[in-house]
Symmetry: C2
DNA sequence: CGGCCATTTCAGAAATTTCTGAAAATCATG
DNA sequence: CATGATTTTCAGAAATTTCTGAAATGGCCG
């Protein structure tokens, strides 16, 4: 295995990601595996990760599986070595796009589906709840459509948009108004 | 207590929020309490919530405390009744703003602080990790600044921006370019 | 002050999630 | 198709989180 003495920088970063893991909807181990890969220039194999983090080999396997299900790691192979090596994308913007897409898939889309389903139920004798649900569905649709738009922009454009600062408000004056939308109460 | 027979619409919505709770970083009970308040036109007191959800009074108390720490519920009082009554804001945009702000506070800000702290460590003998950490910090700063900007817009403007659709890309051509930023590799 | 109603706290019980070691599956290669 | 290296699965153990009932706290009113 590559020498797996971690620098104090790596150690601290990795412990932080571990602690934050629970807040981000992944567990400590998964957070730490990700952090380790993120800071490693070269791809790492499961055995190296296991040693570096002092966890069981099976736990590493499950953690990597979880990261793969999030599309957060890339699988690489080395010439003449059958083991799997993992990395994270170099491009941070790609990472963020993936993260947002996956979170949307897990945290938003199922709710959108459920809301549409509830609206299909028809009259329920609770007009207030029906209205609230419809309103919520509309808002989520608007936000996911906006996300789709942002996602369509190339990275350079996205950065341009994000660094616009105060101009954002003024810019809207120049935009044609489409889809006039009722003002929120 | 107000009659707490739930309609089937309420029941389904509430169960869904309960299930999603874990994905959203709150627990089932907290999700259900929020869902119930969200669909109720009138504010509810703890006893009513307890009965409606079939949980213990103390669990309700803890759940409400959690929701208050997220600023997701409003406390109301009724004339001649000493009990606390809770609701959610009518304005969904306000709810989303709060949600995003709180998530940022819990999920992003501590990491930003930690990254800055790690950068203070100075030379660590791991230039790649140092560079990666700096790059991550820069990106998070850019995104949080963008969030601050969006947050500064009034709701009407925000809706206008979000409903712009395809025009978004074209609009950028009209914007003055500030802060040219290196293209991602 | 004392009684009463409402809410919070908290220690332990219950439920859920995470982790491990051992066994099973996979799969390239001789 | 047998071998050995690698990865995955999975049942139970360990750790963590959530929930409860009982006791403590808080505060209003007479």
């Amino acid at each position: 295995m590559a020498d797996m003495t971690l620098t104090s920088l790596q150690k601290e970063f990795l412990l932080h990601f571990g602690e934050m893991g629970s807040r981000w909807g992944i567990n400590r181990t998964v957070g730490q595996i990700y952090a380790l890969l993120f800071l490693s220039e070269a791809p790492l194999n499961a055995e190296t990760i296991t040693e570096a983090l002092g966890i069981s080999r099976s736990n590493t396997s499950m953690g990597l599986k979880e990261l793969q299900s999030w599309n957060l790691v890339l699988l690489r192979h080395q010439q003449g070595d059958r083991r799997d090596y993992f990395t994270t994308p170099d491009d941070l913007w790609e990472i963020v796009r993936t993260l947002v897409a996956e979170r949307r898939k897990r945290e938003i889309d199922p709710t959108l589906t459920k809301l549409r389903e509830l609206e299909m139920m028809g009259k329920t004798g609770d007009p207030y709840a029906e209205a609230r649900i419809a309103e919520l569905r509309e808002m989520i649709e608007m936000m996911t459509q906006f996300h789709d738009e942002m996602n369509r922009l190339e990275t350079e454009r996205l950065v341009q948009l994000m660094t616009m600062g105060r101009t954002l408000g003024g810019l809207l004056d120049k935009a044609p108004r489409l889809n006039p939308f009722r003002k929120a109460k």
